[in-house]
């Protein structure tokens, strides 16, 4: 898994590439938590390069959503690929996470 963090106006975009699994999910959660703790509570996860997630990745996403919303922000997903979206749907995450076709739309959704 590779991560890159890019400010985009009043939003921070975290690009996630590769596989989020039991070995890598902690790094994702740490990176996202650092952003929330730094006051960057409007987050977009760019999932265009995300090939795979297991329940470990879902834990990281839900943990971040809870933290961000407590501080008045949110974590929103962009460009989720079909196999990953299927896992989100199976797990009931599509009803609690907002997701958009691309980073531009996800970023604009924060207004």
């Amino acid at each position: 898994m590779e991560l890159s963090v890019k400010p985009a106006g009043n939003v921070v975009v975290v690009e996630i590439r590769g596989s989020v699994d039991g070995l890598t999910a902690d790094k994702l959660l740490q990176t996202l938590t650092e952003q929330v703790q730094a006051g960057h509570v409007r987050l977009v996860a760019d999932c265009a390069g995300l090939d795979y997630t297991s329940s470990a990745g879902l834990r990281a996403l839900l943990g971040t959503v809870k933290q961000a919303r407590q501080k008045g922000g949110d974590l929103r997903l962009a460009a989720v690929r079909a196999p990953v979206l299927k896992v989100l749907e199976l797990s009931g995450f599509t009803s609690i996470l907002k997701y958009f076709p691309d980073v531009k739309d996800a970023t604009a959704s924060f207004g």
Binding site: S55, L62, L90
Partner: protein
């Protein structure tokens, strides 16, 4: 290897997080070898990760980590994966149903692993024996293989 042919492979490593990628790569490679479609390969990668993570984090908790042996077999359109371990027995049927409907604030973090395993395969069987250990058998129908087999039957 042509779809529909018999194929059996196996791997064994100690139950540790650092070995997790080895189990996942084994399934990735085996799926490629038998020509599994992408959905099947993703589902089986997910299933094996969730099972191994449970064994690493909970099954062998409080004891020296023992082995996890994973075997992969394709017969016709059926892929069968067996996971053999000597960890504390846990029947997946006893795993509680996760909360899939609460809003984000009330949703518990975690508890999805066994649910995703069950969603990823067509059949699941668990046997535990004090002497021989535990064997979890996961079976999935390989849609692409099934199509190819059907096509071959039509051609003949």
């Amino acid at each position: 290897m042509a779809a529909g042919m018999d194929s059996a492979l196996a791997i064994e490593h100690v139950a540790s997080l650092e070995n997790l990628p080895r189990f996942m790569s084994f399934i990735d490679d085996a799926c490629k070898r038998v020509g599994a479609d992408e959905d099947t390969a993703y589902a089986l990668r997910l299933a094996i990760e969730e099972v191994c993570i449970n064994l690493i984090h909970y099954g062998y908790k409080g004891m020296a980590p023992g082995p996890i042996r994973v075997s992969f077999r394709q017969r016709g359109d059926r892929i069968t994966i067996k996971i053999h371990d000597h960890a504390r027995p846990f029947d997946p049927a006893m795993a509680p149903q996760p909360d899939l409907t609460s809003d984000a604030e009330a949703r518990p973090i975690g508890g999805l692993g066994w649910y995703l395993v069950k969603q990823s395969v067509d059949e699941l069987d668990y046997q535990s024996d004090p002497a021989r250990g535990n064997v979890l058998t996961l079976t999935k129908h390989n849609a692409q293989s099934r199509q190819q087999v059907t096509g071959r039957k039509r051609a003949s």
